[in-house]
Amino acid sequence: MAETASATHVRHGSSIGQPLTRRDGVLKVTGQARYAADNHPPGMLHAALAVSSIARGRVTALDIAAARAHPGVVEVMTPANRPPLALDPDAKTGPFVFRMEVLQDDRVRYAGQPIAVVIAETLEAATEGAALLAPRYAAEPVEAGLDAADVFVPEMVGPGAPAREGYGDVEAGLAAAARRVEAVYETPAQYHNAMEPHAVVAAWEGDRLTLDTPSQGLAWAQDRIAGLFGLPPENIHIRSPFLGGGFGSKGVISGPQVLGILAARLVGRPVKLVLRREQMYGPVGHRAPTRQRLRIGAGEDGGLTALDHQVRTATSRFDDFIEPAGSVSHTLYAAPAIAIGYDAVRLDTGTPLFMRAPGEASGSIALESAIDEMALACGMDPLEFRLRNYAEVEPISGKPFSSKALRDCYAQGAARFGWAGRPLQPRQMRDENGLLVGWGMGTATFPALMFHGQARAVLRRDGTGLAELGAQDMGQGAWTALAQLAADSMGLELDQLEFRAGDSRLPDAGIAGGSAHTATAGAALHNAGAEVIARLAELAMADRRSPLFGAGNAGVVARGGSLLRRDDESRGESYGEILARAGLEEIEGRGSGAMDPAVQEHYATHAHGAVFAEVKVDPELGQIRATRLVGAFAAGRIVNPRLVRSQYYGGMIWGVSFALHEQAVMDKRTGRVMNANLGEYHVPVNADVPSLEAILVDEVDPHVNPLGIKGVGEIGITGTAGAVANAVWHATGVRVRRFPIALEELALAGAE
């Protein structure tokens, strides 16, 4: 394991790179991990949302008397009695501040919008009270679907990228092309559907608020709530030790969480509010549908001459989040001309939001399908075609990649899968039962980002250490991976380290999103560890009684709870000895982590991968099954291969879901999602994913950040969805461009 350039004391110790099991695993499997909704402070009441069944209009009547009369109901919160907020919830005070519906008026702007909150002694009473409200509405006509009338060109997409990007002359490139592919791909609205619904347990004590609520970004949440209630952020204490999944939907505080806080304010008692599954299909974000038109040109030699990626997507009528589906085309393939553009329609839906691999997931399935179509048009193997158009520098920026082991991913994935010898033409392979067999591939990519994070590291006289920061474990294993990073940075074995996270009183570790958490929080921990070790070393080296006295020029090494002279490791002493002699109980260091602007200026930073899929299709019935998936991913330093593999598996399964299963079925007459439950909103079951393999491709990134860490949380979906779609085409010869692929489109293709 390489030493990092900046911190001479760090030799990566025994933790980083180890496939440790989750430190919180036993807690979770024995039910002892305390999730937000597991909290029951004394005197707590239960709140239930009443939500709108229309998508646009006004609430004209609620039978509040009936709800109040129900035994156990304590209070009904409506716009008439909702406690005041210090800030208009519709004020757009920043790009990541989303407008929310917290009973500010009687308007309904999407189906499933909260229109009242019933607070009761029991969940059952609150739920029945909500049903008894029997709302009446003045409904207005609804805009639903990507053909809606209100089309606009957004100013920016995703987290702030321009809506028009590119270089070169795409039309000229297309005109000059020997082969052209033009195709339109459609992806549906999808919902995050974390296992754990959004939940909040809110307890006020004067103007201090304690919250148990899942949050992917504690400091953001704290600031948002502080702003809404006109309180200093430090008055808001958020505990979020575990999240049952977030996928972006817990990245910002949502309206229902604020309603729980308001309900507690109204009744003067702690209140718990947990969304029902169907209530997660409205106020907590979704992945917007897209319609993507790709035009690609290639020369006789298979080299791209132009790539045009135009995205139509949707946002709500009252706020903007534009699914950045064109962003993959920035990055993946070299072309002399690239154009990326967007427009969007305004619909009567909740505002879309970041959803795992936002942009890249939707864009990847379209781009990878189109590239596959072009490979065929050029008579080239899809892998050969991708290698022919390999981007040596990032196409959109011309910057070199900080590292890019994609060729290794292609090679290792293809070898493991057995890609060689794949017939170029579709419908050439059958299994022993006569089922059609197809092989497809896709390139995976996701940017390596960093946010801002801070951490604190403490060494104690008893030889143990403490590392703490407000980091988020949402199932990805941050409790474990970050502890591994902290232990090595502090020269401790993992079992000597106490690790604390998931609390807003701890240093702000940034948001667990953008696949950037390990890099960001890890860098903060690394630097905090470096600082505490440096301070300890100063103590020792200045002390004539220490064997480290005068070691300054040679430096010291921190390992196993001791500092050792770098030039003679037989000379050293334990942390405890140093602290004891100095009369200190403990010593602390603080550190922060963020992307170095110079790195951003000089390098494009992305993780990459290659995914190979096998599917089988029944030729008469159209029944599809992914039978084999091999992904090979290069994402810089791998902190914990077991957890990383788990992230890749999860992403790859989501890719299968994207290609074959997942969609919100909306009744366009009403703007309502008709399958707002996990029975009918299909995600793969175990039997849909028989064989998964994720190869961790070696990649040393000397630039991206001192630890060389990229991110692994989101890349798995990208590449996979396209690989599965391409495999379905290869099996059947039918190119389905609307996802998820419906079995009848395969079975009845070409039928009368």
Binding site: G434, E620, A747
Partner: protein, 352 residues
């Protein structure tokens, strides 16, 4: 969920008396009823709990080769009963293709017969549904109806019956034993469920208070054991309702079909026995051409009720497939993926 009375009867007679009161519903395992109550789709005033009644949970193998199954037998217990699944392999296969393992461990035989439709508009109290609220209209018409009925539907209702289990039961002539205030009666399963017509709220022949106590498979049903299959087309490998499904059984004599059974699932408000197809197969050779003709006959009266014309052709193909698989012979063991197109095919390849 509304407040309701809970009654725990000590005998079938007590249960029937309690359930005959208006607003009552029987509770077995509740895998469907409790969901409906939580969603305010149904709001019974009284639940009559059958879980403590004696005598409803036996699987009796009758000496004549038939079987009698208590209404409270769990789906999984029935499917994994070795002798039952040997005699009625397509029934076991259908059971194991339904719902999820967790649901099958809880759900009962009687409850399976009486489960409500999977129509999203029925499940959604904000939508118009003649089944839930007679006369309210049907929002499934003109709505998201890709998986709705293609046989036996009416302008008032296009919902389907979601059961897998009931499909082979219809094919193989199962009989439902019913007890009520006025005594015991028996109804062929094929006649147990009602088509919607003008009264989609009436889903079965049961009168108020009547209780399904048992299900009988006649001895002749076991005569198809060597050639009986269930095939289910679905959008994921488990825990999904059928897009279309079919149960088929053949009695072969001297290389010719002596008798055939065929029923379709996911196509109508009831499991759809395809008697015309069965008649077309009698005396025919068990080959693809015969099976395709039979499938055509089975769907002769089909018509799309919305955006679901594709189901008609897929139903033909599933019917033909089930017959082809039945002709190939019941596998020694139930396949690991019951009723799946991906289950290995005994003997030769199905597809050229």
């Amino acid at each position: 969920m509304n407040r309701f009375d809970y009654v725990r009867p000590a005998s079938i007679a007590e249960a029937i008396a309690a359930a005959a009161e208006p607003g009552s519903a029987y509770l077995a395992s509740g895998t469907n009823l409790l969901d409906l109550m939580k969603g305010n789709v149904v709001r019974p005033a009284r639940l009559v709990d059958l879980n403590h009644l004696p005598g409803l949970d036996g699987i009796e193998l009758l000496p004549d080769g038939g079987a009698r199954i208590g209404a409270r037998v769990r789906n999984a217990d029935l499917a994994y009963h070795p002798e039952f699944s040997r005699r009625f392999p397509a029934v076991a296969e259908a059971l194991l293709s339904g719902a999820s393992a967790q649901l099958r461990n809880a759900a009962t035989v009687g409850g399976n017969l009486l489960q409500r439709t999977c129509c999203a508009y029925f499940y959604d109290p904000a939508s118009a549904c003649n089944k839930r609220d007679p006369g309210a209209g049907c929002d499934a018409r003109g709505g998201e109806n890709r998986l709705h009925a293609v046989l036996g539907w009416s302008e008032r209702c296009i919902a389907t019956h979601p059961s897998d289990f009931c499909v082979p039961l219809a094919a193989f002539g199962a009989v439902v034993e019913i007890e009520g205030q006025f005594g015991r009666r028996e109804v062929p399963l094929e006649e147990f469920h009602l088509l919607p017509g003008e009264t989609p709220e009436r889903e079965s022949v049961l009168a108020p208070g009547e209780l399904v106590v048992a299900l009988r498979l006649p001895a002749e049903a076991a005569g198809f054991a060597a050639h009986a299959r269930y095939v289910k087309l679905r959008e994921r490998t488990s825990y999904a309702f059928a897009v279309v499904s079919a149960a088929a059984g053949l009695r072969l004599e001297n290389g010719v079909i002596a008798e055939a059974r065929l029923a379709l699932g996911g196509v109508a408000a009831k499991p759809w026995r395809a008697r015309a197809a069965e008649a077309a197969l009698a005396g025919a050779r068990p080959d693809a051409a015969s099976f395709r003709r039979a499938a055509e006959a089975a769907l002769a009266e089909a018509a799309p009720s919305g955006d679901n014309a594709f189901k008609i052709e897929l139903a033909r193909r599933v019917a033909a497939r089930a017959l082809l698989l039945a002709a190939a012979g019941t596998p020694e063991r139930l396949p690991a993926l019951p009723a799946s197109a991906f289950a290995p095919v005994p003997g030769a390849s199905l597809h050229g």
